[in-house]
Amino acid sequence: MSVVKLSNVEKTYPGVQPVHALQAVSLSVEAGEFTAIVGPSGSGKTTLLNVIGGLDRPTSGQVWVNNTDIVSLSDNELINFRLLNIGFVFQAYNLIPVLTAAENVEFTMLLQGRSKTERDSRVAELLGEVGLADRKNNRPGQLSGGQQQRVAVARALAPKPRFILADEPTANLDSASATTLLDIMAELNRREGITFIFSTHDNRVIERARRVITLEDGKVISDVLNSQSAAS
């Protein structure tokens, strides 16, 4: 079952010299995939992720997420759709600096209106999952980059989304932190069937991905299954 389906998606940034960030992109991502979108800088990886995540709208083409045509949704409907269906992990962690690790994880569940009991147990479960149960009362400024990114993963998972979009999640991490993070995500994918879609330059991510989609100049130039992946 496809969780993401793109049909002939184009994205052009207007200007004196318009930039064609995505050109006739069509693809689908099935539930439970661990997929990397790769390509050189400016190839359209982040734009593709933004379009899939409903953060940006395509100039033309259609995007279905969980069988919903998200292009037709209004801004507020999109925000609500993201809240219920998509988890985000950003390159720069992007945690809320005034909240503790536990409160950051709890945040999206609060926006969903989940009960206190449910929130508390999910926060404990997720922080345990990413190995930060003992740091739950620390604010982002008191955590290392790798720890912050693990909190970001826990936050993305908290509302039980259909899939996680991760934009260069290991870009700012040292090798050990990146490995730990990838181990956690691979384990969640394997054990709970959570779909992960990465945009990345990082070979460590690419090696673990079961599917690698390569973009160049906004076009999909290859889409292959990675039989050597560690996640397989």
Binding site: T46, N50, G53, L55, D56, D75, N76, I79, N80, R82, L83, L84, F88, F90, A92, N94, I96, P97, V98, L99, E103, E106, F107, T108, L110, L111, Q112, R155, A156, P159
Partner: protein
């Protein structure tokens, strides 16, 4: 959690928030203290004018207002004042004989207002005896005593027991004179009045003017200033042949002082709050702009626009509401303190007394003013919050997340 995040966001930049909070607190303190000073000054002026000059209500013959003719007396004045003094709403009342004439001393002469008063009545009404700075009050002096303003006495180098001559028209229109012995010097906060007014016994003036038990003016002080319209109405109903006026009608300039000071104080506070409002907007704009990526992230993970708008509104309101009570409390404390201790403006005594103002100013402010200021502060906070919150709403998550 929205409120919790907003509250913590206020304290992210402690120095910046601290400066804005201090500016709000100091601005409101200064504004309130100025209001307390202005209100205290004007209330004192009004109170002293009511106590010493106008009382709450005055009754005259309608013709008296036209040309102050000595023939325009209050018919049945003595019976009327006895009836007025019996009323429970009346604190004190005095019947006066008034005239204008020439005040002549060995060193010169000047025009003067002569107030013929009953000493006891005037003690109860205006506390005239308490204004004496030298000599004896009218009731304890022998002969035909006269009380002279200290500034007038200094001008003509008068001493106690000196004789002065008052020349004026009697009730039949003939010019007559009387010699009076200076029994005392009085001094009020109104130097101008002190130079133009002397007090003699009512019976002495009535005798010289050839009047029986007639009077020109009945001044009334009430137990409760709020009952002025009610008492005025009952007197008008009882004696439609007389002119019954309140202090506001007798002294429109005083009424103007009260009204103008109230408006002036509010304008001053609006200016302060306007300046503070711009400071708040500036601070919140800085806060929003430097958190562009964070706000974009919040919208990306599912925080809708209403919540983003509310969060910025809360932050602005918190920023204002921490400083405002502090400033209002400091203002209240200062007003209470100087309301008891007073602010000594003796250095400016000459200028102040020319306009009838006391040199010791006791700050005062009614609860209504505090409430009005509080409402204005809340309005300032909400209005100041709108622009930064609106700017936050205009952020596009995708652009905000990738901004530096």
């Amino acid at each position: 959690m929205l409120i919790q995040i907003a509250w913590r966001n206020v304290w992210r930049s402690r120095l910046r928030s601290g400066i804005v909070i201090a500016a709000i607190a100091i601005g409101l303190f200064a504004g309130l203290f100025f209001m307390g000073f202005s209100w205290g000054l004007s209330i004192q002026r009004v109170d002293s004018a009511i106590a010493g000059e106008f009382s709450h209500i005055q009754v005259h013959n309608p013709g008296w207002k036209e040309d102050h003719s000595t023939r325009d007396t209050v018919t049945g004045g003595m019976a009327l004042i006895r009836e007025i003094q019996q009323r429970p709403s009346v604190k004190a009342a005095s019947a006066r004989v008034m005239n204008e004439g020439m005040f002549t001393t060995a060193r010169g002469a000047t025009g003067i207002q002569i107030h013929g008063v009953e000493p006891e009545e005037e003690i109860a009404l205006t506390h005239l005896n308490e204004t004496l700075v030298e000599g004896q009050y009218l009731d304890s002096a022998r002969g035909t005593p006269i009380l002279v303003g200290k500034s007038l006495a200094e001008k003509y180098k008068l001493r106690l027991r000196n004789t002065v001559v008052l020349t004026f028209q009697d009730a039949s229109g003939h010019v007559t004179s009387g010699a009076f012995k200076v029994s005392g010097f009085y001094q009020t906060v109104n130097a101008k009045n002190d130079q133009s007014k002397v007090f003699v016994k009512r019976s002495d003036l009535q005798a010289l003017m050839g009047m029986d038990a007639e009077v020109h003016e009945i001044a009334i002080l009430l137990q409760n200033p709020d009952s002025v319209p009610e008492v005025q109405a009952s007197l008008v109903a009882e004696r439609p042949d007389l002119k019954v006026e309140t202090w506001k009608e007798l002294a429109p300039d005083l009424r103007l002082i009260v009204d103008a000071v109230g408006s002036k104080m509010m304008v001053f506070m609006v200016i302060i709050l306007l300046a503070l409002g711009f400071g708040i907007v500036n601070t919140m704009m800085m806060s929003v702009l430097e958190r562009t990526r964070e706000l974009g992230m919040l919208m990306a993970v599912g925080m809708n626009k209403l919540r983003v708008f509310l969060m910025i509104m809360y932050e602005t309101v918190f920023l204002t509401m921490v400083g405002a009570p502090l400033g209002m409390f400091m203002g209240w404390v200062a007003i209470q303190y100087f309301g008891k201790k007073g602010i000594d403006l003796a250095a400016f005594s000459e200028g102040l007394s020319q306009y009838g103002f006391d040199t010791m100013i006791y700050t005062a402010l009614t609860p209504e003013f505090y409430i009005q200021v509080a409402v204005m502060v809340v309005a300032t906070a909400l209005i100041s919050a709108i622009f930064p919150a609106w700017r936050a709403l205009r952020l596009k998550p995708v652009e905000a997340i990738h901004s530096l």
